[in-house]
């Protein structure tokens, strides 16, 4: 072996093993916030996507006309003021003065109009404001700072469901006209937000640079602009264990994609801060009402009494989930706390009484029987989401205790939903993921949505009527009363049995400051993440 080889090998190995050998990395770390993303966005086009991780990233770049404070009240963002007509069919919005896009062009009403036209045409979330649903039938721009929305029908929820949603993030009209749809949100995105889109390396990272001109952050943010960090890097790390390792090692400053399995390790790390906040995602069980055994309300109530939600929260959610009594929870706009009194509490003795009253008696093998029928059901849920798969197994054992033989069949999310829509199941454990009670409760429980999103297959005229009343109410108080009635019917029917609510988790290095400001707002809005976070 040549004499030079060994010394050269030693030098090369030393160079590889020396961490942080590049001095600029240290300075860059102080001005760069690295966020771990558990899933790569498909694209960050606000009007084409409806995915959560896409929304997280694009919300740093584009902004809607309004946003919501921690009490779900609408606050201006790009808008300065707004006024509804008496019949709630015309909305006049005046834009703030002096706001410009990342390319330097001033924000005008023409840009708002072009964005909403695009939103109505291509967004999967624009149903509420589409013209054929009585939504936006026209938009007028009498001057560069004023836009008038004309609705076909009163749309009182439009402020919350659309105009405060990042999916209506305003893009320049010229950008929309000159950029192909395969480039918007993939190779280019221009907005008014606190960060500017710089680079997307597919599968690896998305890089944003600070918008130095940004000064119009929402009033509830302690910092209204510009952001503290010069650079925001989103690193895509799909494997949970790898994400936990990166946070533990300090290579990722903050992540909102913490899994329950990684939580314990992160909590034990003195260099990491872990925070929790309620989220609107609810895990629930639903019975297929085309199955004859569920037609009897006492059977459904008995099943509801048989389920120990605390056990599911502990064992399936590893202590991160919280038992819930309603199909929506307090993180959802429209939630009624009074629904709790109508929920069925865990009570095995009461469950057995109800089964007996319904004519079901335990057989020699402990399984309930009625005449020649044995109480056997198939439960479907997701195989590729741990909390759902575990919940299925736990519910199986809990129902076994009261004499129901449950066969659990899991499949990945898409296949499970396909099966739910086909109705080839008896009970299913699914999830609710939306922040608005209306229209989401309509998706889940109105008979018009059987079987596309209402898997119960239970047409209930009374429930439909109250859902329609909630949807069409012009008066907030009237809508609130109707939604309370909806939530009560849902829980009392025991067709849907709410189980556990998810929790938002955050893990951050101790050197990341501003988390206290984030904690003031229940769902950690992106504006706070962009503007409040700093390096201690």
């Amino acid at each position: 072996m040549q004499r030079w080889f060994i010394p050269l090998a030693i030098v090369a190995l030393a160079g590889l093993l020396l961490p942080g050998t590049l001095p600029p990395a240290v300075a860059q770390a102080a001005t760069t916030l690295t966020q771990g993303l558990g899933e790569e966005p498909e694209n960050i086009d606000p009007q084409r996507t409806n995915r959560f991780h896409s929304l997280i990233v694009l919300s740093y770049i584009v902004e809607p006309l309004f946003t919501l404070d921690k009490d779900f009240q609408v606050v201006p963002l790009l808008a300065q003021s707004h006024a509804w007509s008496a019949d709630k069919k015309t909305l006049r919005v005046v834009l703030k003065d002096g706001i410009s896009f990342h390319n330097g062009a001033p924000l005008t009403s023409a840009d708002v109009k072009a964005t909403f036209e695009r939103y109505i045409n291509v967004s999967p979330l624009s149903s509420y404001v589409r013209p054929r649903n009585g939504g936006i039938v026209g938009m007028d721009t009498p001057d560069p700072r004023t836009i008038v929305f004309r609705f076909g029908q009163p749309k009182p929820l439009a402020m919350i469901s659309d105009l405060s949603d990042a999916h209506t993030g305003i893009l320049p009209a010229s950008f929309i006209a000159s950029t192909s749809s395969t480039d918007i949100g993939i190779r280019a995105l221009i907005g008014t937000g606190p960060y500017i889109f710089k680079e997307w390396v597919p599968g690896d990272r998305i890089v944003l640079e600070r918008n130095e001109r940004y000064r119009h952050g929402p009033g509830f943010s302690p910092n209204r602009g510009p952001a503290h960090f010069q650079r925001m890097v989103f690193r895509v790390i799909p494997e949970d264990a790898t994400m936990t390792a990166e946070v533990t090692a300090g290579n990722v400053d903050i992540t909102f994609d913490v899994t329950p399995s990684g939580l314990q390790q992160l909590r034990a790390n003195p260099n990491v801060t872990v925070m929790q906040a309620p989220t609107y995602s609810v895990q629930y069980l639903v019975m297929n009402m085309e199955r004859w055994m569920f037609q009897n309300a006492k059977v459904r109530q008995a099943i509801a009494h048989s389920i120990d939600k605390d056990a599911i929260a502990r064992a399936a959610w590893l202590g991160v989930g919280r038992p819930v009594e309603g199909l929506i929870n307090e993180a959802t706009i429209g939630f009624w706390p009074g629904v709790r009194q109508y929920a069925y509490k865990y009570n095995v003795a009461r469950a057995k009484e109800l089964f007996a009253e319904a004519g079901w008696r335990p057989g020699p093998d402990g399984i309930l029987r009625r005449e020649n029928d044995r109480f056997e059901v198939t439960l479907i849920t997701f195989s590729n989401i741990d909390q759902w798969r575990r919940a299925g197994i736990i519910v199986q054992s809990q129902l076994k205790q009261v004499g129901i033989d449950v066969k659990v069949e899991t499949a990945e999310v898409g296949a499970t939903y396909d099966r739910a829509r086909a109705g080839t199941f008896d009970i299913g454990i699914f999830r609710n993921t939306w922040w608005l009670a209306q229209p989401y409760l309509t998706f889940l429980t109105h008979s018009v949505n059987i079987p596309s999103s209402n898997f119960s297959r239970w047409p209930n005229p009374e429930l439909d009527k109250v859902l329609d009343a909630a949807s069409n109410a012009l008066d907030d108080a009237e809508r609130e009363r109707a939604l309370q009635r909806v939530q009560r019917i849902i829980v009392e029917s025991a067709v849907w049995v709410p189980l556990v609510s998810n929790t938002n988790l955050l893990a951050a290095k101790k050197s990341v400051g501003g988390l206290e400001a984030l904690a003031q707002h229940p769902w950690w809005p992106v504006h706070l993440r962009a503007l409040a976070l700093t390096r201690k």
Binding site: G15, L16, L17, P19, T21, L22, E40, E42, N43, D45, R48, N50, R51, P124, L125, S127, S181, T182, G185, I186, V201, P202, G203, D204, R205, R235, V236, I237, P238, E239, A241, T242, A245, E246, T248, A249, N251, N384, E412, V413, G414, A415, Y417, D418, R421, T433, W434, Y440, F443, L444, N449, S452, S453
Partner: protein, 300 residues
């Protein structure tokens, strides 16, 4: 060509059996009318044979269509990912050979000694390692506990200290387990060659042992090894899928997994074609190497 068409037809058919990608993409929040509108825009409501024919007519012109989930051109998506996968697999193969050739040679030359024993035990150890577990173990030891190596991701430039560092753990994860198999084959192939008469002749001519082993024995032992390289290449691309997921490596393997789960038919189809092309190309390379290693082999 018939094989390629057959593969794409099979994959296309299987993918369409898995269900509706639009409802999966949009979730429950979106009304059926909007889902239907998107299906119409993408032509997903047409009969499957018609969809395949339309896809094939575009594919032969180099247009693999657009992704259902991202909307981006499939060719662009694959082009952005093929480089990192090739880096990973080629470097892993180099590691495999760099470890297995010396180990196999030493094991054969020092047969039944402690060196041979260590080599065989090490081979058994590595062949038993699942890639997923090995990757996480490397991350834990070298990334978290010792803090010596980056844990995941790929540096912006390969030819830099940071570039080489980000490649180290994933390359070792992908390259070490197959080294066991290659070590054993090298050993047995060398043992067979060392017993040949021309080796005895070479020694009797007074050649140094190192020259006899490397220039005469090893070169003849390489032919079955090349065959194994050709057979293992598809496995290497498959192993890259797991490695890329563990190390957040932005390669084609991860894109394939994501696309399968999202039923993104055009992307899956495109990647399958790309991987088939890579396997064919690498098999051709192996065939050409045969001619280099063995002068008796010549192609017309």
């Amino acid at each position: 060509m018939p094989v390629a068409i057959g593969v794409t037809l099979l994959v296309f058919s299987l993918l369409h059996l898995t269900g509706d990608p639009i409802r999966l993409l949009y979730g429950l929040n979106v009304p059926e009318e909007i889902v239907q509108q998107r299906r119409d825009e993408l032509g997903l409501n047409r009969p499957v044979p018609v969809q395949y024919a339309m896809w094939l007519s575009r594919a032969v012109q180099g247009d693999l269509g657009e992704s259902i989930t991202t909307g981006d051109h499939v060719v662009a998506m694959i082009a952005a990912r093929v480089g990192p996968t090739l880096e990973l697999t080629v470097l892993a193969l180099i590691v495999t050979l760099a470890v297995s050739l010396p180990a196999g040679v030493v094991s054969a030359v020092r047969r039944n000694t402690w060196l041979d024993g260590i080599s065989r035990i090490a081979a058994l150890f590595w062949v038993s390692m699942p890639i997923f577990w090995l990757g996480l173990l490397f991350i834990l030891v070298f990334g978290v506990w010792l803090g010596l190596m980056p844990i995941s991701g790929r540096a912006e430039t390969f030819w830099s200290i940071e570039g080489l560092r980000t490649h180290t753990l994933p390359v070792l994860t992908l390259g070490l387990p197959p080294a066991a198999l290659f070590t054993r084959l090298t050993r047995s192939s060398m043992l067979e060659v060392i017993g040949e008469e021309y080796i005895r002749t070479a020694r009797s001519k007074g050649l140094a042992e190192r020259v006899v082993i490397v220039r005469h024995a090893l070169r003849n032992a390489l032919i079955p090894l090349l065959t194994l390289v050709g057979l293992r290449l598809p496995w290497l691309f498959g192993g890259a899928v797991i490695t890329e997921t563990v190390f957040a490596w932005p390669g084609m393997g991860r894109l394939l997994v994501d696309s399968v789960l999202k039923r993104d038919y055009p992307v899956v189809q495109g990647i399958v074609m790309a991987m088939a092309a890579l396997v064919v190309a690498s098999s051709l390379l192996v065939d050409l190497l045969y001619a280099y290693v063995d002068p008796r082999i010549r192609y017309d």
